[in-house]
């Protein structure tokens, strides 16, 4: 699913955010990406969904050479990747349903498909009863589940979750982790960034550890 070779990225004159990062992730794998704050996890994610450019190296995501994409065709990569953020990135003035449907509207799905897929995605995260609520009316865990439904609704091959449980208490975090595992069982490749030791201990998934921009375990 992902093949990365000697990725290198630096911002300004400081220490590089990523140095010679190489790894391979197979289709259908569940991988924890971990490391201390500032280790380069978010930078790596941003490179994988085309938000940041590489200084050196090559990365293939689902067969797409990310470095070769230009601003007009980056969307082809982003439609293959579902991204979940720590801060949810929900639109506060849209209902739960509309937040999820938004992802479908963007890819030009028709009304009927949007309704069907949005409902399906909300069902899979157990939030159909909250479809008319607005994000500020929901708890952190519920908001994250909306974000997961939005990442799921376009049926991506790869899910990148950047500290999705960072703002949640342990019990809810476990529920969220279970949601990602459910998606993984349905065939999706999941990379979940976390520095929660608890989470890493309770599950036996492959570990990708970054330290100061270098892969120390893959």
């Amino acid at each position: 699913m992902i093949q990365a070779f000697n990725l290198h990225k630096s911002y300004g004159g400081g220490a590089p955010a990523l140095q010679n990062v190489s790894f391979t992730i197979q289709e259908g794998e569940f991988v924890f990406l971990t490391g201390q704050s500032g280790a380069g996890k978010t930078t790596l994610f941003k490179i994988l969904f085309g938000w940041e450019a590489l200084d050196q190296g090559q990365v293939l995501v689902g067969g797409i050479n990310v470095g070769k994409l230009n601003e007009n065709n980056l969307y082809t990569l982003r439609r293959k990747v579902g991204v979940v953020f720590q801060d949810y990135k929900l639109l506060p003035k849209k209902t739960v349903f509309d937040n999820v449907a938004f992802a479908q509207q963007i890819i030009g799905a028709d009304k009927k498909t949007i309704r069907f897929n949005t409902w399906d995605a909300l069902k899979s995260v157990g939030l159909t009863n909250k479809k008319d609520a607005y994000p500020p009316q929901l708890s952190g865990g519920e908001q994250q589940r909306v974000a997961i439904a939005r990442a799921l609704v376009n049926d991506p091959q790869l899910i990148l979750a950047d500290e999705p449980t960072g703002n949640l208490d342990p019990e809810i975090s476990l529920e969220i982790l279970e949601l990602f595992e459910k998606m993984n069982q349905q065939g999706k490749t999941v990379i979940m960034a976390t520095h929660s030791l608890e989470m890493l201990q309770v599950r036996d998934h492959r570990l990708l550890i970054l330290n100061r921009g270098r892969i120390v375990q893959s």
Partner: protein, 302 residues
């Protein structure tokens, strides 16, 4: 495609609603600028009409030497008749001219009637056919007759006409320059309005990019927003110019007609109206495009 268009329209309406104040400010600025431009056009169009009305009244008067031979007069008449642009020729003898002069000025100036000789020459009055080249035709014939023996002088108000024509050229250049400056100003204003619209929706636009929206999907509603600003602005401006035109006609048409016979205060013609509307659409489009392209470029991978 239909859902894309509907979504673009919905988003445009949503954007306008969300930034109502900025939108209205921008529309007001466009309205003022196009009203100024429209008034310039109104003045220009009416001065042009005045020029062409004058032009229609212009005739070529060929004053003859007192000792011109019959043969030369015949040859002159042949020259006039052979010119296809000459509509009618009338000969006024010295006596007829003197009689006419005395009738006209009898009450105003007594001394001229006391003269014991006729100071006026005989003349031909030539009327020309209507057409856009009428003044040029008169000028051409006058030029060809300048060296003709037996002609004392030629008269068709050339100095006034050429001064007025020069003034119209200067006015045209002035309007074009002012118009161009206003257009650049408006593009910058619309661009800034759209920029505010973009910044107020920055999270949403970034999210769209993250979720795989195409640039076209993001650009279209914002381009439409600029376009709507332009069209509403020019529509209001033309309405104001029309009101001013109606008021001016009501106030000044009577006195204008008594000074310049046949002159009617005109409104802007259809081609000019369409040109203004198209320019406003263009300005709206370019203004939006500038800020959207700039924003999308700034979000591009670094």
């Amino acid at each position: 495609m239909i859902s894309f268009v509907l979504n673009a329209l919905r988003t445009t309406r949503h954007n306008i609603k969300a930034n109502k104040q900025v939108f209205l400010m921008s529309v007001a600025t466009i309205t003022i600028a196009f009203t100024i431009q429209g008034l310039f056009f109104l003045v220009f169009v009416n001065l042009n009409t005045l020029l062409s009305t004058w032009g229609k009244q212009v005739q070529l008067i060929v004053y003859l030497d007192d000792d011109i031979s019959k043969g030369r007069m015949n040859s002159l008449e042949e020259t006039f008749k052979s010119n296809k642009e000459v509509d009618s020729i009338s000969y006024i003898s010295r006596d007829e001219a003197w009689k006419g002069f005395k009738n006209t000025f009898y009450e105003k100036s007594g001394f001229v009637t006391d003269l014991d000789f006729n100071p006026l020459p005989a003349s031909y009055n030539l009327k020309f056919r209507d057409g856009p080249e009428r003044l040029n035709n008169i000028r051409e014939l006058a030029d060809s007759l300048k060296e003709y023996k037996g002609i004392e002088s030629l008269e068709y108000g050339e100095k006034w006409i050429s001064r007025f024509e020069k003034f119209m050229i200067i006015l045209r250049v002035f309007i074009l320059v002012v118009g161009a400056i206003l257009c650049v100003g408006l593009i910058l204003i619309i661009s800034n309005t759209i920029k505010l619209s973009i910044y107020s929706r920055q999270d949403e636009i970034d999210l769209m990019l993250l979720l795989g929206a195409t640039h076209r999907f993001i650009k279209t509603p914002l381009l439409l927003e600029g376009l709507v600003q332009g069209v509403i602005g020019v529509g209001l401006a033309l309405g104001i110019v029309k009101l001013i035109h109606v008021y001016m006609r009501f106030q000044f048409q009577g006195s204008l007609e008594s000074i310049f016979r046949g002159v009617d205060l005109q409104f802007l013609g259809q081609p000019l109206l369409w040109a203004m509307i198209l320019v406003s659409i263009f300005i709206g489009w370019v203004g939006s495009l500038l800020s959207i392209t700039q924003y999308l470029h700034s979000t591009d991978r670094k």
